[in-house]
Amino acid sequence: MSGGLEALFSPIILFFVLGAAAAFARSDLSVPEAVAKGLSLYLMASIGLKGGVEVRQSGFSTEIFAAAGAGLALSLLLPFLAFAALRRFGRLGPIDAGAVAAHYGSVSVVTFVTGVEILTGRGLPPAGYMVAVLALMETPAIIVGLLLARRGLAGGAATGGDGLWRETLLNGSVVLLMGSFVIGLIAGKAGFAPIAPLFESGFRGALCLFLLDMGLIAARRLREARALTLRLAALAVLLPVVNGTLGVLAGTLVGLDTGSVAALGILAGSASYIAVPAAMRLALPQADAGLYLAMSLAVTFPFNITLGIPFYTALAGTMVAP
C-alpha cells in the first residue's frame, strides 16, 4: 500500500488539499462556477472519448458484459445495504436514509477519473469499457433509493413523474459520458488524433484545477454541515470502504484484470454528487440536501481521493494477483 500512498504527493491530490486548506482557513479563494462546470464537462468528454477509442482498439469482448453486469448489480444492491446501515446505525428517517442510500449506490465521475489517473501512473490502466460501466452505474440506484424512501411517505408522493425519469436517465453527465464514448468508438484512434492535444495532453492539468475547486467546495460544505452527526460521518467513511471492497470482490469474481477490478472498487466505493442530488431535489424534496451533500461530497469524496483509491487498488492487487 505504500506505493499507493505516494500518489498522495502527486500534484492532482495536492491541489485538492490546497483547496480544502484554503476553505478551512476561510480564504476567499474561489473558482468561478461557470469555469468549474466547464472543466467538469471537459473531463467527462475526455474520459468518454478515451474509453471509446480504447474499446474500438481492443474490440468488444465478453469481459465488457461481465463488467457491465457486475456494475449494474452493485448499483442496484448497494443502496439496500446503505439504507439499512443509515436507518439503524445512522438513526436517519426513511426519507433521508433513502436519499443518502441512492448516493452511495451511484458513482462519482471525478473519483473515477482521479482513480484512473493514479492507476495508469502505477502501470495498471483500467480497460476502456469501464467508462461505459461508470455511465451505467450512475442512475439505477436512484430508483432503488426512491423506492426505499417511499415506504416512509404517506402516499406515493415520492415520484417526480415524467420529469424525474427524464432528468435521471438523460442527466447531462450521463449523456455526455455515453455520447463521448460513442464518438470515441466511431472516431477510433485516427479520428481522435486531431483532437488528442486538447483531450489528452491537457487532461491532468485540468484535473488539478478542478480538484482545487472540489477541495474548496468539500471543505466549505463540511464547515457548514449542521446535520452531520458523528455516526453519519463514520458511515460516510465506512460505506465507501465496504462498498469498495464489494466492488473489488465482484470484479475479481467476474474475472476482470487488476486495473479494472480496482476501478470497479473505486466506482462502488464512490458516492454521487451530481446526478443523484439533482434527482433527489426533484423527487424527494423532503430529504435534507445539506445532509446528503455533506456525506457524499464533504466526507466520502475526500476520503476516497486520499485514502480510498490507494486502498481499493491495494486490495485489487492482492485479490487478482496470480
Binding site: 454528487y273 431535489r281 426533484l282 424534496p285
Partner: protein, 103 residues
C-alpha cells in the same frame, strides 16, 4: 402624464430543476408571461445553500410574474402545497405598470 395600472408582482424562489413545474402551475391559472432572475445563495430554515454549478443540486432561481390580483392569489393557492414540501419562497408585492392590458 401616462396612465398606470395597479398589478401584483409575484416572486417565487424555486430550485432550478423545478422551474418548469412552477411555470406549468402558473400557466394553469392563466399566468403565461414571466422572467427568471438568478440568485447566488441564501440561508433558510433548512440551512445555507449556494449555487455551485458542479453539483448543481442547489441552484435556485427567482420566477417573477406581474399579473392581476386574482391570478396572483390563484397561483399562491395552487403552489401552497409545494411551498413547504419543496422549500419554495413566495412573495407578492404591489406594482404599477403601463400598458395594463398586457398584464
Amino acid at each position: 402624464m401616462i396612465t398606470t395600472f395597479r398589478r401584483q408582482k409575484i416572486e417565487i424562489l424555486v430550485d432550478a430543476p423545478l422551474v418548469r413545474r412552477v411555470a406549468a402551475a402558473a400557466a394553469g391559472v392563466g399566468i403565461v408571461h414571466y422572467t427568471l432572475v438568478p440568485t447566488l445563495g441564501g440561508v433558510g430554515a433548512r440551512g445555507a445553500w449556494s449555487d455551485d454549478q458542479v453539483t448543481g443540486a442547489e441552484a435556485k432561481v427567482l420566477f417573477v410574474a406581474v399579473t392581476g390580483e386574482e391570478k396572483a392569489e390563484a397561483l399562491a393557492t395552487a403552489l401552497a402545497p409545494l411551498l413547504d414540501s419543496h422549500g419554495l419562497m413566495l412573495m407578492i408585492g404591489p406594482v404599477e405598470v403601463v400598458r395594463g392590458e398586457k398584464f
